[in-house]
Amino acid sequence: MSLTWEPKIVGFACQWCTYAGADLAGTSRLQYPATVRPIRVPCSGRVNPAFVLRAFQRGADGVLVAGCHPGDCHYTTGNLFTRRRYSLVKRFLEYLGMEPERFRVEWISAAEGKRFAQVVQEMTADLKQLGPNWKMRETT
Amino acid sequence: MNPLVPQVATIKNIVVETPDVRTFVVEPDHGQTFAYRPGQCAMVSVFGVGEAMLSISSTARRGGPLEFSVKRVGRVTGALHEAEPGHRIGVRGPYGNHFPVEDWAGSNLLFIGGGIGLAPLRALINHCLDERRRYGKFDIIYGARSPQDLCFQGELMENWPRAEDVGVHLTVDAADGDWKGAVALVPHFLEKLGPSPEGTTAITCGPPIMIKYTLASLKKLGFSDHQIVTTLELKMQCGIGKCGRCNIGSKYVCVDGPVFTYAQLKELPQEY
């Protein structure tokens, strides 16, 4: 591992809440590491669990799925399905041997720029401790 | 040399034939275009998308670059249709047998094409026109879904009708306002024209369903199994008889075909 290694985080962000929250973090000039690659999705319910695995496969060191708080979904119930789904997926990934720190699910509203910055900071620190991810990652 | 590795080639020109058919004029970047005969095919790759077996629609003896006339149906053909002149693709071949033109000296030739099936026939027709004296009368029957789906309109409307003793008969499945020609499916149209089997070889190429009924119509008109030549198409991957895919019984379309006489077809299981 080189000294300049920085983790890569793929962050799936719901466009109504978390993506706006990330924007707010930026416009509020909050400092957080440039480790996250946000991918805007219409709803956290859009995030097929295969996307998470694909991210790890293609070299992500951590994956974040983030959306509106339960009850606040733009589509009323999308994130409630997300909650069920990722409750299982999170546990399943760990069951397959992935470290818990590498995958996080968070509710971050459009007003929570600070929360977004904090999650990225925490995750980055955790991943720096762990080092690069090689599990489930393609080799070529 | 690994036969599965294609030559890199450049698309020099693209001719829009119909709304979903384009002709790609292709030249290899290094070395020569391989020698080929009418009816043969080549594997064309779009790197990152994959390969497809395409029939060569140009005529080798005219000396020009390779031409592939391609209908947009799937991933590779879709990617080709997105391509522009200057793009690089892969080409390997030639594959398969060819039309047995040497057996046809003195014979009348009846070409029956449907849709994009005219692509290999175009290579053949131009090949035979260049040695016009060797054969008897030419008749070209060609059908498409609609008038705008007729491929190679320049040749169909201009070059071929003007050639010596060549009849061009066009039909469409569904006409539009300006169409003055026949409206019929190819097999029906063929039966209505009723060409005589006497001293004639019929060569047909088109979608599987058209071939099936055209073969029946030709039989009805009295053509013998040996007078009928057709081409088959099956899913192919390697083109060199190794991938075990395009078999019909013990024959592989990629090496033993794509050209079969009806007599040969009858020896094979009906599974194509």
Partner: protein, 335 residues
Amino acid sequence: MKFIAAAKLPLLLERLGRHSQVYAPVAVDGRVWLSPWTGEDIAGGYVNPVNSLKTLVYPQTEAVLEFEGGETDVTVREASPPAPQVIFGGRPCDAAGLDLIARVFMEGPFVDELFRRRREATTIMTVACRQAAPSCFCRAMGLSPASERGSDVLFFPGPEGYLVEALTEAGEQILEQAAGLLDDATGDQARRACQELPVPLAGDLNTVRLTPEEGFEHPYWEHLARRCRSCGTCTYLCPTCYCTALFDVTRGTRGRRLRGWDCCQFKDFLLMAGGHNARPQKKQRVRNRFLHKLSYHPANYGEQACVGCGRCVDNCPVCLHMAGVLKDLGEVERA
């Protein structure tokens, strides 16, 4: 004829491992696989490894070429040549199977370079059989537990070690590397024991030639195919099945064209972009598999494409296998 003591076998493999990748039979979770060998216990007492020799000489996926660049400036490179490898512990049926598909790749108007290169980089050290499973029918296919076809070196297991016989030049070269580990053989009981080992499913199936006229439309195929689940167990385990597909895998501006096993029992095997499928029905696909082995391949190569290894017999979840088909055809019975 030479002899190697059982205790010296790891030394031999270690020595060969200096210049080649060595594969040997290793037990993984209770079943024996031909695996990359790094000093593990060499398994004995198995009838046949789960994976046949085919899997190592004709890998499930391999690169054909690499490409790089964009639409207008792509460059293409052939895949790099394979490293030398030595495979110890395959059985004579599998070695014969490998030779059988080698003819497909090496004969005809085109030579398959990928296969040729890897086969030439491979030395096959086969171990003859001292025991047979109920599913074995090599003798019925014209082979035996001591067949030489396809092997470079043949080992005959005995109580203290193996009789060793080089069958090809490559085999002799490899035994030269074994100097000091081999003794002169003092008898050939081990060889005779293998040669005389009875095999459960008998009959002379090697002469069965099904022609399409005989049975293409026979209701038997419908009857047989009903229970097929259209998975790839039989073809992927079979030492003589060789169907493949080519596909591109791209990352950014670089990519590889891979060749990977495919299976004629999958419903989309012959599906073309336009929607045409020459064998959409299960019956057609099952029939094609058996007729390919019993009729089409013999028409092209003069021999049946089956070596009687018994893997389909042991592994098909619904017992749709070659021994059964041959039995149905009245050509095989339990000895």
